[in-house]
């Protein structure tokens, strides 16, 4: 289900923890699986659990608890915008409105071509860079003025 490279990355996670504590690697392993497959299906979660030798439910409860795991398919690019108070004061709400207008979708929706999903996020710990957004969970974009958003969307082919 996962590529040899992804499995190697999971092995590296497992090695960080004491030999009898492979469960600690479940967060990293789920992240690696999601990065490769785009989202986490029940089958993927089960595969990860079996690979680590933990009960599938233990992996499933982690996948459902942390909000960066996607348990449903998302667009090719998932854009998460922070609209928490400090970001709102720095233009976060305006940035979200502009993205909704540009993409023609609301929060929690995906464009009909399957390219973009827009998500409202909570504090990303980068309030001084407001407005901030996150592309596919891992790439943070700072100071997202309208022009910067236009440029970013054009880059996401």
């Amino acid at each position: 289900m996962l590529s040899p490279d992804a499995l190697k990355q999971i092995d590296r996670e497992v090695a960080k923890y004491p030999a009898d504590q492979a469960r600690s690697a479940v967060m990293g392993a789920l992240r690696i699986a999601q990065t490769e497959l785009g989202w986490l299906s029940t089958e993927t979660i089960e595969f990860v659990a079996n690979y680590l030798g933990i009960p599938p439910v233990a992996a499933y409860e982690v996948a459902t608890f942390y909000n960066m795991y996607d348990l449903k398919p998302v667009g090719k690019y998932k854009i998460t915008v922070c609209t928490n108070l400090p970001c709102a004061l720095g233009g976060g709400v305006d940035c979200a409105d502009y993205l909704k207008h540009k993409l023609g979708i609301g929060f929690g929706e995906t464009t009909p071509d399957g390219k973009f999903t827009l998500v409202e996020g909570e504090c990303m710990g980068a309030c001084g860079d407001a407005p901030v957004l996150l592309v596919n969970n891992h790439s943070m974009c700072s100071f997202m003025s309208h022009e910067a958003i236009d440029k970013k969307l054009a880059e996401l082919k």
Binding site: P18, R23, M27, R31, A58, L85, L89, G90, H138
Partner: protein, 431 residues
């Protein structure tokens, strides 16, 4: 974004240099000298802890607990494994200081953790990093590789019998994991739901073993304390409030960013450093210590100095040092609605008063904001809050209640106006 410093962690760090994070750059700034001195001169564990105690360093994560005292709680002769954990799960709205330590000066954290490991007789440590800053997690892992290759991590460090290793653990989006026992659960690969205390982590922590957890900025302050002395660190701040501190300034200022300044600096000076109020607007309110800290009206804030004691005397908390600045265009009902939504979204659901109470707070504030407030809604908010605060396993419920109490106390007329007139008292503009 640069860090504006008059302090100990970022002294000499040129944040515009893309290589300022590297081992080479850190060593050129005097990095790892403190660790070398400890190991080469055989300074005792007790002396290291005494130096940290003498510095009056107080935990930089929000609680302000004396770091040296916390270290002394660790059972040093415990026969089995013990752990050291760094809390870089920085998700308190307004706080973005630890991210800059990871990005620009990660080795100060690594060296601080190695010294802490030495002082407490710990061999294995983890740094739990906030989910949304993946790129900084990757960079931190590169810094760990550098430290390992240079012999600062691993077995027989610098040719001594001291062995210590440090690994990075990446979170994936849960505010609650900033709570130390939730963080430990998460590190064990579970849902991040806080544990009952006692037992405290010093006796029952990670994998049930004695564990000490400190904030990123606390650890990163340690190399200076050992190299230049606890007394010098203390003198950089004021009595009982040792050292310099990073303040994350966000909101309606011209230059949002991190400011590392002596504890005790007047707020007015910090505001000026941050470029003053954006567009020359009037200061209305400040949340001085992250979103969980009670809000203070601008005029009260202008009389405060930035240290634990002064902010506490004014009725709030220094917390994580996140200073959220709001101007006169902000409707305080709308601002509070946004915070209430956050706590509702992030409650872990374990304790009923918090799981249900945060929803009640949000829904009542939401209806006031949207012109459907009822005359007794402010009493209802007080009553719900009283049934939450102090009645749950962790402090998230309290953190959700503090903003509600303080907003409705200091800006009560805006809430009353909203309920009566079904609209904002001010013409609200976010920015």
């Amino acid at each position: 974004m640069a860090v504006f410093t008059q302090g100990v962690i970022f002294e000499g760090v040129d944040t515009s240099d893309p290589n300022c994070w590297t081992l080479d750059a850190y060593v050129k700034r005097g990095g790892y000298e403190a660790l070398k001195r400890i190991l080469q001169q055989g300074i005792s564990q007790d002396d290291v802890i005494a130096e940290v105690k003498g510095s009056s360093l107080r935990g930089r994560g929000g609680a302000g607990f004396p770091t040296g005292l916390k270290w002394s709680f660790m059972p040093r002769n415990f026969p089995g494994d013990k752990y050291l954990v760094c809390n870089t799960d920085e998700g308190e709205p307004g706080t973005f200081k630890d991210r800059d330590i990871l990005r620009f000066n990660p080795h100060s954290l690594i060296e601080g953790m190695i010294i802490a490991g030495y002082a407490m007789g710990v061999k294995r440590a983890y740094n739990y990093i906030h989910g949304e800053i993946f790129e900084d997690y990757v960079l931190f892992e590169r810094a760990l590789d550098e430290a390992r290759a240079a012999g600062f991590l691993g077995e027989n460090i610098l040719g001594t019998s001291f062995t210590f290793d440090l690994f990075a653990h990446h979170g994936y989006g849960a505010y609650i994991c900033g709570e130390e026992t939730a963080l430990l659960e998460s590190l064990e690969g579970k849902k991040g739901q806080p544990r009952f205390k006692p037992p405290f982590p010093a006796s029952f922590g990670l994998y049930g073993k004695p564990t000490t957890i400190n904030n990123t900025e606390s650890f990163a302050s340690v190399p200076f304390i050992i190299r230049d002395g606890g007394q010098k660190f203390l003198e950089a701040g004021k009595p009982n409030n040792g050292g310099t501190k990073l303040f994350s300034v966000s909101g309606h200022v011209n230059r949002p960013g991190n400011y590392e300044i002596p504890l005790g600096t007047p707020f007015s000076v910090l505001l000026e450093m941050a470029g003053g109020m954006k567009n020359g607007k009037k200061l209305k309110a400040v949340i001085p210590g992250g979103s969980s800290a009670p809000v203070l009206p601008g005029d009260i804030m202008m009389d405060c100095t930035m240290d634990y004691d002064s902010i506490s005397k004014a009725g709030s908390m220094l917390g994580s040092g996140a200073v959220i600045v709001m101007n006169e265009d902000i409707c305080m009902v709308k601002a509070l609605e946004r915070l209430a939504y956050f706590y509702h979204e992030e409650s872990c659901g374990q304790c009923t008063p918090c799981r249900e109470g945060t929803g009640w707070l949000y829904r009542v504030i939401h209806r006031i904001e949207h012109g459907q407030g009822r005359p007794d809604d402010l009493d209802l908010l007080t009553s719900v809050g009283n049934n939450m605060a102090g009645r749950t396993i962790c402090a998230l419920a309290d953190a959700a209640v503090f903003p509600v109490r303080s907003f409705t106390k200091h800006f009560r007329h805006e809430f009353e106006y909203h309920i009566e007139h079904k609209k904002c008292l001010v013409e609200h503009k976010w920015c």
